[in-house]
């Protein structure tokens, strides 16, 4: 009797086997995320030319805008310089930074979600035991990101081709390029950490740095020529100059960065075991000192608080250091000089710059507060809250620990941003710190909404991200557009006094603080009354 033999086919190891199946599966899982993201970006690009046309109807009005931007370093830092006065150029300018950042965020989320998330949850083990090549999962994740970015590029090109095909092509490809740079960056980081959360955080940190560099560069030059701008992929998008004498070779920068990062990601992925990472988990203490729900919440979130603190301190310091230069740069433009004078001279320009930057940091701090509040949601749905709450810990005490970190942490990072700002600027710190603390009222309202969503409609708790996104969109893109006042008023940040420079108004700040307190109270009441989501 002979043993049955297995058929062993000689030949290639088929490292990519199963990629197609995994890609279809990934696209199915992202069937909501990708279309929504392309839709939001598409809508922004689609409506922009007409909005701009109604705002700046004549070439003279557009020239005036260009002059204003040349004078206004704080607006430049926020949204980049205006490089041309055609409707296409203005659209690319107005949408560029926001759409680029959104492309980067979505791409990094998609890649981490289909790589490290799958490994961390243990699902990848089952997938990898099938007829799936060693490189298939990473390839499918990158192809998913590529498909999303291609869809975005096509949409943008189709929408803008009426303004000229060359510029539309440059802008669409540039956005997709930014997306793919961060997709491949996330692919590298996902090899380094065992935690998907950390991978997302680190890649988002790189994006934050890219944003700060571009903003810093654009604050000190009015044509994107600063070396700081060239260090940032978001700056490359600007320097591709859609509708302003396209520099096609900049696309090669994107291509080179994407290729180099993809090669690095594959090299790292090929050198490690499933579920392992290059920053491995070290053993911990055999006995612990954690003794309360609040201590646990702090322990779980302290890494995030540290990261955000460093980021905000550095961002504040960079912008503080630029304030003087930004206020000095007026150029030979008469219109610009007139505008500066109208804004209150050099001191007024400096104040306006500080105010704009502090306002932007406040908007970004809203993302921190949402992430931190939603840890409650994560703890609850992962099943980790269940045994904690089966101990002698009431729900309020459990929630209070995380909310303390969320709300206290957002005040802390704004304070650190102010401290960094004051250090970088080198003038007296009081007004800047005050301006930063005022932002906290707006941040806390967003946090309160997140608490309410988690308490009252736990199934839709992640909609809090939508709230933060909407607030960012309103604060970032809204003011320069012809958006109805009622829409602008939806964002709590729109009600805050413009500090420093403007008068301090206590009333809106107090109203927002009360509103935040009411939202938190309502959310906690709802949390106490409902079933846990287990």
């Amino acid at each position: 009797m002979t043993a049955a033999a297995f058929a062993v086919r000689p030949g290639a190891s088929r490292q990519l086997a199963g990629t197609g199946t995994l890609l279809r599966f990934a696209l199915r899982r992202d069937r909501l995320l990708i279309p929504v993201w392309v839709g939001v970006n598409g809508l922004m690009v689609l409506t922009m030319p007409n909005t701009l046309k109604s705002l700046y109807a004549t070439p003279a009005a557009r020239a005036d805008l260009v002059a204003q931007m040349a004078a206004n370093s704080s607006l430049r830092a926020l949204v980049g310089p205006v490089l041309g006065d055609s409707l296409g150029a203005l659209t690319a300018w107005r949408v560029g930074v926001y759409a680029g950042a959104l492309a980067a965020v979505t791409s990094l989320l998609v890649v981490v979600r289909h790589t490290r998330d799958e490994e961390e949850s243990g699902r990848q083990e089952l997938v990898a035991s099938g007829v799936v090549g060693r490189r298939a999962s990473l390839t499918a994740a990158l192809l998913t990101a590529a498909a999303a970015n291609a869809a975005l590029a096509l949409t943008v090109v189709a929408e803008l081709s009426g303004q000229g095909t060359g510029g539309a092509l440059a802008f669409g490809l540039g956005l997709a390029g930014v997306g793919m740079v961060f997709a491949t960056m996330a692919a590298i980081v996902a090899q380094l950490t065992e935690s998907a959360r950390l991978a997302r955080g680190l890649t988002a940190g790189v994006l934050g740095a890219a944003f700060v560099l571009r903003a810093a560069g654009d604050a000190v030059t009015d044509d994107g020529s600063s070396a700081l701008t060239w260090l940032s992929p978001l700056g490359w998008l600007e320097n591709l100059r859609p509708y302003a004498g396209e520099r096609w070779w900049v696309l090669l920068l994107f291509a080179a960065a994407v290729a180099a990062q993809a090669v690095a990601a594959y090299a790292l992925a090929g050198r490690r075991d499933l579920g392992m990472s290059f920053l491995p988990t070290r053993p911990g203490p055999a006995a612990g000192r954690l003794g309360s729900a609040a201590a646990l919440a702090w322990r779980l979130q302290r890494g995030g608080v540290l990261g955000w603190s460093i980021g905000f301190l550095l961002a504040g310091a960079v912008y503080g250091g630029l304030t003087e230069g930004a206020a000095d740069l007026v150029g030979d433009n008469d219109d610009a000089r007139r505008i500066i004078e109208r804004m209150g001279g050099q001191a007024g320009v400096a104040d306006a710059f500080v105010s704009a930057m502090v306002g932007m940091l406040g908007l970004i701090a809203a993302l921190y507060v949402v992430a931190s509040v939603l840890r409650l949601h994560g703890e609850e749905t992962s099943g980790r809250a269940e045994p904690v709450l089966a101990n002698a810990v009431g729900r309020l005490r459990w929630a209070a620990g995380h909310l303390l970190v969320a709300f206290g942490g957002s005040a802390l990072i704004m304070l650190l941003a102010g401290a960094g700002f004051a250090l970088g600027y080198g003038r007296d710190a009081g007004p800047i710190l005050g301006a930063c603390l005022v932002q906290v009222a707006g941040v806390w309202v967003v946090g309160g909404l997140a608490v309410l969503l988690h308490g009252a409609v736990p199934r839709a708790a992640t909609a809090a991200w939508g709230v933060a996104g909407a607030v960012l969109l309103i604060g970032w893109v809204g003011p320069a557009l012809d958006v109805p006042r009622a829409v602008l008023d939806l964002s709590p940040f729109g009600h805050l006094p413009k500090l420093p420079g403007g008068p301090m108004e206590w009333r809106p700040v107090l109203v927002l603080l009360l509103l935040a307190a009411a939202l938190v109270a309502a959310g906690l009441t709802a949390l106490r009354r409902r079933d846990l989501k287990l």
Partner: protein, 311 residues
């Protein structure tokens, strides 16, 4: 009010999630100091019942008392005297097992450090590893050590041994026995029948959110049939007329009068059968009590006809 001898008292408990009726009039009584087996097929509502008892879910109707308290309104006070091991233990990826054990102990109001160290040794757990690096069985050990090391009156264990190897299963059984000897009450939801048979004083079987059987194993056994095989010196007399006898088979064992008899009998009618057999001169006798499996199959199977389930 004479409720002090009941650690858990549940009657007519209802809980629905949308259109699913997870609990449909559940009754459960766990006496202080006993190990109570809580049995039922997957999806019968065991975990839902446990979560209502822990105040994590709120019952739609019915009453529940745990250690004499309302599990929803008085959750925190009750939890001081309760240790819970969930069926699926999830740990924080960046906390070591030892940290989690100590955290749970402190959140409950303290744990016995000597006992904790002893348990870690007995369960052969490495407390320095971090969350994600533990296997399923080791994650369960973390929760078990935390539960057994704490000073509580009631242990609620929801399928706590599904990931343990046989050696650890034995350690677990010894720990439960020790807990009972220390006067503690244990509610043990389990699918491992040998474990239930070994440990539990009484069991409740639930199906579709309702209690279908409750009592001591001895009580429950009486509800089913015992198999008897006997070799007799002479032909049996009147066996087939006895009440409660089923499936009687009589065979000659040789050229003489010897007979081999096989039958099944309702366990509470066993006595009369043995007398009747004795009258014919018993040469050998084997009697097999109903297995727990038979008990379960009878209650788990949908519309199981009695003959099938008792086999």
């Amino acid at each position: 009010m004479e409720t002090s001898h009941l650690a858990i008292e549940v009657s007519g408990l209802h809980k629905s999630f949308g259109r699913t009726h997870a609990l449909d009039g559940l009754d459960l009584e766990v006496r202080a100091g006993e190990v109570h087996g809580f049995l039922g097929p997957n999806g019968a509502g065991k975990s839902t019942a446990v979560r209502v008892l822990l105040g994590l879910l709120r019952a739609d109707s019915g009453t529940a008392r745990i250690l004499g308290r309302d599990p929803w309104a008085d959750a925190v006070a009750a939890h001081r005297r309760i240790a819970y091991v969930p069926g699926d233990v999830t740990l924080w990826r960046n906390l070591s097992g030892g940290e989690v054990i100590d955290l749970y102990g402190r959140l409950r109001g303290g744990l016995d450090a000597r006992r904790r160290d002893g348990l870690i040794e007995r369960f052969e757990l490495d407390p320095t590893k971090k969350g994600r690096t533990y296997s399923k069985g080791n994650r369960q050990k973390v929760a078990l050590v935390a539960a057994f090391a704490s000073d509580v009156d009631l242990l609620i264990l929801d399928e706590p041994t599904s990931g343990l190897d046989p050696l650890m299963e034995e350690v677990f059984q010894r720990c439960v026995t020790e807990e009972r000897d220390r006067g503690r009450t244990v509610l043990l939801s389990s699918h491992i029948l040998s474990e239930v048979e070994e440990l539990c004083d009484r069991v409740s079987i639930i199906r579709k959110g309702r209690t279908v059987e409750s009592g001591s194993l001895t009580d429950l056994r009486h509800l089913t049939r015992t198999s008897v095989t006997a070799e007799l010196a002479g032909p049996p007399d009147g066996l087939s007329r006895l009440p409660g006898v089923h499936g009687l088979e009589v065979r000659r064992t040789g050229p003489g009068q010897g007979r081999r008899v096989r039958l099944q009998v309702d366990t509470d009618k066993l006595d009369a059968v043995l007398r009747s057999l004795g009258a014919s001169g018993v040469r050998s006798l084997t009697s097999t009590p109903p297995t727990l499996e038979e008990l379960f199959l009878r209650h788990y199977q949908d519309e199981a006809p009695e003959g099938v389930s008792a086999r």
